[in-house]
Every structure is written in structure tokens, then in C-alpha cells.
Symmetry: C2
Subunit: 146 residues, 2 copies
DNA sequence: AGCTAATTGCAATATTGTTGCATTTAGCCT
DNA sequence: AGGCTAAATGCAACAATATTGCAATTAGCT
């Protein structure tokens, strides 16, 4: 919900502006990653103009608050679809249809922390992207996954 | 070793050219991620000029062969420091000094695969970046990690 | 309603990435 | 060793993405 993001935004002392609400709305509606200029384009088709600088700055802010993420695979931005996963953001990216599913798992985090600990590394944040095939694409075109 | 990468390169039917060797050497020497233009700059200080297009194309190739990776955190490229980890590339990134340590773990992969399977997702590749503090930075400035 | 720090838009610039095509070259074959 | 050719490079032009400083606007407060 856009409303939830707005709450977080304000809880951190940021203002709720029209541009920020518009960007949040676009991210909310799109399950696939969007570039800053994608967002600008989508808004333009609705008669809403935002300067790209504003969009960049908004996305920066949202990423800092973990309300959005930048995907490694595409470089585009996507809304964080989970709450209270501070420090753990995991994505399954279908290499066929591009669909993205975010998930989180405390046990996985724990195991990863332990593993890194062996190197003397103290983990604060976990970020991962698994690429493969979503259930639909796997069923439809199993040969792709050979 | 640059030599190892060259072998992989040739095993896939690609030519070993001067530009490719130069890029491999630069990646080999630098433990931190470099952008294409960084690489060009480094080479220039040695009197070696490479067109940026060539560097882009070389990095593309190296990434496709899993001889290099593009880091999520910085966007820069870094040499893959492990062999035979086809489909699994994990990094610990020190948020203080920027040092990067690559590692891999089959068990972790298995658990992640199983987890994704619950969503009907068939995982092919694992990519992850953990950010935190390397042993040195953690010792020196424990307050940073609070 | 008025105040003010935060935010936005604008303009200019910088950086990063792509494409088509002529030239060069690595690896192979005499 | 010298020639052949597909692969790779460099160049030029362009396209897309990203950053900065500053003046104008505005959200959230009193
Ligand atoms: Mn998230
Ligand atoms: Mn690797
Ligand atoms: Zn799919
Ligand atoms: Zn460190």
C-alpha cells in the first residue's frame, strides 16, 4: 500500500509531496522494475509531469528507507513488497517473463551470517537475486530450464 | 590468475587479444570494483589506450563467461575470484573500506533452492551481496556496527 | 494566514552506454 | 613464413542516464 510507504516517509521526518506520492503510486502499480525515465514516461501519459531530477531524488530517498530497491538484473527500481525485513531483501527473478517475487527468511539470514562469520565478516544486510523460472514459465516451457 | 581466465576465454572459442589481456590484468590487480571508464583511466596512466567501446564489450564477454561480475552495490566490475561456481556468486562487501570477498556454498544454494521451490520457483543462478564489516574494520571501529 | 526549511524545477553539464561501419588482427590453413 | 577470413577493435556520432547549483515553490508548522 502506498499509504504504508507514506507513513514510513513521514515517520522519518520527510514531507509528503505530490511528486513523491506519484512515484509511489507508479511503483505500486508495476510489479516489474522501472527506470527513472520509465516512471517519467508513465506519468506523462497521465498528464502528470515530473522533472527527472525529482524522480532520481525520490528514488534515492525511497531506497534509503528500504521502500524501494534497485534490481541488479535490470537496474530498474521496484517497490519493496515486504514489511519489517530491515536488512534482508531477496528476489526471485524469472528470466523468461521478468516477473519478480520478493521474499525473506530469517533462518536463511542466520545461516548466511554464520557462514560469513567464518571469514570474520559481520553481516548487516542481505541482498540477493535468484534467477530462474517462475512456476508459470517453468510449466509452459520446461525446455528453457534444461 | 589472468592465465586461467584466458584459458576459459579460448575454450569458448574467443580470441585472446591485447585489449582483452589488458582488461583482465587490470581486473586482476584491483580487488575493488571498477567502472569501464575507471579501467580506461588506469590503462591510460600506463600509456595503453583502449577505446571505451572495447572495454564495454570485453566486460560484457567476461560477465557472460562468469569471469567477472557487476556489483549491485557499486555498479562496478570485479574479477570472479572463484572457479567452478557456475551459478553461484556471493559477495561480502565491507561498507567501511569497500573490500570485497567472494565466496560460495553449496549448502546455502540448496537451502535457497528449496525455499524458492515453495513458491514454485525453479532457481538457476544465485547472486548475493552481504554488506557489513570485514574483520579489520569491525575491530578498528566497532561503534560503526552498532 | 504567514513563516521557513524542505523540496522541486530548470538549465547546464557530466557521465555512461550504444550503434554502424571501416580497419585491423588472432588464429588457422596452406 | 605468408595469406585468408571471421572476429575483434577503433572511431564517430549519437542516445541515454545521472549530477549540480540555484531560484522558485510548497508542505507542515505556528
Ligand atoms: Mn525489500
Ligand atoms: Mn564468481
Ligand atoms: Zn516467468
Ligand atoms: Zn573493511
Amino acid at each position: 500500500m502506498v499509504q504504508d510507504s507514506i507513513r514510513v516517509l513521514q515517520a522519518h521526518g520527510h514531507k509528503l509531496t505530490k511528486p513523491r506520492r506519484l512515484v509511489l503510486e507508479v511503483l505500486e502499480e508495476n510489479e516489474k522494475p522501472l527506470s527513472p525515465y520509465d516512471i517519467q514516461g508513465i506519468l506523462r501519459t497521465r498528464g502528470k509531469y515530473l522533472n527527472h531530477v525529482t524522480i532520481y531524488r525520490t528514488l534515492d530517498l525511497l531506497c534509503n528507507l528500504n521502500l524501494a530497491h534497485r534490481m541488479l538484473s535490470s537496474g530498474g527500481f521496484i517497490k519493496c513488497s515486504l514489511d519489517s525485513t530491515e536488512g534482508c531483501h531477496r528476489f526471485m527473478v524469472c528470466q523468461n517473463c521478468g516477473a519478480i517475487q520478493e521474499f525473506a527468511d530469517k533462518e536463511l539470514c542466520q545461516e548466511e551470517n554464520d557462514f560469513a562469520q567464518n571469514f570474520g565478516f559481520h553481516t548487516e544486510h542481505h541482498l540477493s537475486e535468484f534467477s530462474g523460472f517462475c512456476s508459470q514459465c517453468y510449466r509452459k516451457q520446461p525446455q528453457l530450464a534444461e
